[in-house]
């Protein structure tokens, strides 16, 4: 329903959005994820009509929106700072779009009340924005946009100004709300937890381009570029060279000294230099080799970082590289696994773990 074709936005010589193409399906919860300055907000503002594209097409429901001004577009925005009108009551804020469209009073009343009900703010109609908490203001902003029943709702970091607890709660409500109203959401955030938790699909952006686009699980499990692998969650990167490759898997030589097997078809050929990516939670520490973890590399435990539910173990490999291992504390206690600093351990992982990225 929304399609961006080769959209570029330049500010002088600076390319904010570089030849981006993407498609968002009807009813989808789509998330643009990236750090500040990556171009995600520029894309959102181009869809809303606040920014003009330098080139490319932005097609909504089969029609190129061209340079239509914001007030002619069937999209509504939830602003990062909410942008509630301070001189109006909650009711008038939500009714604003309907009044502009000259809906009749009765319809405005019903729809505003319905929208306020959807965001659990019934009874707050006569309050002014400054009499509401941040979370409540955020929900008024949501109701003010939803009441117009736009084709697409654009959300610009809507939870970033909220306390962690409230943001987490609002996150759950937001998914429920989106399923209930069935409106397409395009959600911009720099917070990967938010993106992974909320979205049907995530587009990870970097330097004005989409590095990878797919469901959260795929982004996390199978990052396609070093940036995505590094940006999402935490990741250990090991340099390697392919020694043998078949269509069922390959063998790598890591840091020119350790041979490991990988049970994963990758488009690599012997001799290719690759990055082998392993998540901390895919790794185990052990004194002895274990049957389920075919690959092993020795290292010395240098630091332990207690994080409540888990502990991070920083292991120094023989080539000087530090590798992070995350182990669930509850399971470690059950297994009576205790590790001592400056002791040598084996770093273990399964041949099905990890991703190979061409270096």
């Amino acid at each position: 329903m929304l399609e961006l074709i080769n959209v570029t936005r330049k500010y002088g010589d600076v390319v904010a959005v570089n030849d981006v193409s993407l498609t968002v399906a009807k009813g989808e919860f789509f998330c643009l994820l990236g750090s500040s300055g990556c171009g995600k907000t520029t894309i959102l503002r181009m869809v809303a009509g606040f920014e003009k594209r330098t080139s490319g097409q932005i097609i909504l429901n089969g029609r190129d929106m061209g340079d239509d001004p914001p007030y002619c577009r069937d999209v509504n925005t939830v602003f990062q700072n909410y942008a509630l009108f301070p001189h109006m009551t909650v009711f008038e804020n939500v009714a604003y779009g309907l009044r502009i469209r000259k809906c009749n009073t009765a319809e405005i009343g019903t729809r505003v009340m319905e929208a306020l009900g959807q965001v659990r703010l019934s009874g707050f109609e006569e309050r002014r924005p400054d009499q509401l908490s941040g979370g409540q203001q955020q929900r008024v902003a949501l109701a003010r946009a939803l009441v117009n029943r736009p084709s697409i709702l654009l959300l610009d970091e809507p939870l970033s100004a909220l306390d962690k607890k409230i943001a987490e709660q609002t996150r759950l409500e937001l998914t429920e709300l989106q399923r209930r109203v069935g409106i397409t959401f395009i959600y911009v955030t720099h917070n990967q937890t938010e993106a992974l938790a909320l979205a049907d699909r995530v587009a990870v952006m970097h330097n004005g381009v989409i590095e990878q686009c797919g469901p959260p699980g795929e982004i996390y499990e199978h990052p396609k570029t070093r940036f995505v692998a590094d940006f999402i969650g935490s990741m250990n990167f090991l340099d390697g060279q392919v020694t043998t490759a078949t269509d069922r898997g390959c063998r790598l030589r890591l840091a020119e000294r350790w041979d490991v097997e990988i049970d994963k078809a990758s488009p690599v050929a012997p001799g290719n230099r690759v990055l082998y990516c392993l998540r901390p939670e895919q790794l185990r520490l052990s004194l002895l080799p274990a049957r389920d973890f075919e690959n092993s590399v020795p290292g010395v435990l240098r630091r332990k970082v207690f994080e409540g539910d888990a502990t991070l173990y920083l292991l120094e490999l023989a080539n000087g590289q530090m590798v992070t291992v995350s182990q669930n504390n509850y399971i470690a206690r059950l297994a009576r696994d205790f590790y001592e600093l400056n002791q040598e351990y084996l770093l273990l992982w399964s041949r099905t773990s990890g991703e190979i990225i061409r270096a």
Binding site: F50, Q80, I100
Partner: protein, 288 residues
């Protein structure tokens, strides 16, 4: 309360200005009140004894007409100033930071020169052999000098000119703290630029407008310099009358009575006005 100081300590901050106001505003006002009910002695001084005859004299149609004319002039001046100041303030508020600074400087620049001097300089602009008339004559557009000075027109020119900064600055301050995302939100919700102005920008800037109106209307009402320098024989407003009572006519009690009426009339106006329009922007500030 965001301020870490306690209320009691905050009160101390008010002490010096309060003392100042009591000494140089409250006390003189009481003296004026006292004079206004005293008798006039033959040499223009104050004689003992209580009388209300000066207040009775104000009810004379002669003075009521002048009072009415003063109110009209101040009101018209305020309206013209507002119409000129609003677009200027709007432009300033949404200009790039550098332009904003330059414009701000230009608005404040006239304060560097004495008000009287600036009023006298209008003579060289508006006079029969002033800049405008000379130019028009040379261009052959007119054959006789236009009478641009010593009339009501010139008084309005002086009033509007002198008051512009006092109207521009509060409106600018109000618009400047407006977050542009409010305008974007309005457009996003379907309102074009014109409806956005009437429904969002203007209401948002009203506290600034209200403050500007107070800053312009009140000093204009009491002004006597501008009509004196730029006005004609008929352009007498209440400020001139009061001025004359104290200097030329040497009738201090009557001048005091006129002043008292003016001051207390304005006090009533302001207290009603502040309650109605919130020119100090309490609601706005709370929203920030």
């Amino acid at each position: 309360m965001r301020n870490p100081l306690r209320i009691r300590e905050l009160h101390l901050l008010l002490f010096p200005p309060a003392l100042w106001l009591i000494l140089f505003f409250g006390l003189p006002l009481l003296i004026v009140l006292f004079f206004s009910v005293s008798r006039q002695d033959v040499y223009g001084g104050i004689a003992p004894g209580f009388t209300l005859e000066h207040y009775r004299r104000i009810a004379d149609p002669l003075y009521l007409v002048i009072l009415w004319r003063s109110l009209v002039m101040a009101a018209v001046t305020t309206v013209i100033t507002l119409l000129l100041a609003y677009p200027t303030a709007y432009y300033m508020a949404f200009a790039p930071p550098r332009t904003k600074l330059i414009l701000m400087f230009l608005v404040i620049l006239p304060f560097w020169t004495n008000f009287l001097v600036r009023m006298y300089s209008f003579m060289t602009i508006l006079g029969a052999d002033g800049v405008i008339n000379t130019l028009l004559l040379k261009l052959g557009l007119i054959h006789e000098p236009l009478s641009l000075i010593h009339n009501t027109f010139a008084v309005y020119v002086g009033f509007v000119y002198g008051n512009l900064p006092y109207m521009i600055l509060p409106i600018f301050a109000a618009l400047d703290r407006m977050n542009t995302s409010l305008l974007e939100a309005s457009m996003d919700l379907g309102a074009g630029p014109i409806r956005t102005f009437w429904r969002i920008t203007l209401p948002y800037s009203l506290p600034g407008v209200a403050a500007g109106i107070v800053f312009v209307f009140i000093p204009t009402l009491g002004n006597f310099v501008v009509p004196e320098i730029l006005g004609g024989a008929d352009d007498v407003i209440i400020g001139n009358v009061i001025n004359r009572q104290f200097l030329a006519s040497r009738n201090w009690p009557f001048g005091s009575a006129l002043s008292a009426v003016l001051v207390f009339g304005l006090m009533v106006f302001i207290s009603v006005y502040i309650r109605r329009y919130d020119p100090m922007g309490k609601k706005q500030l709370a929203a920030v």
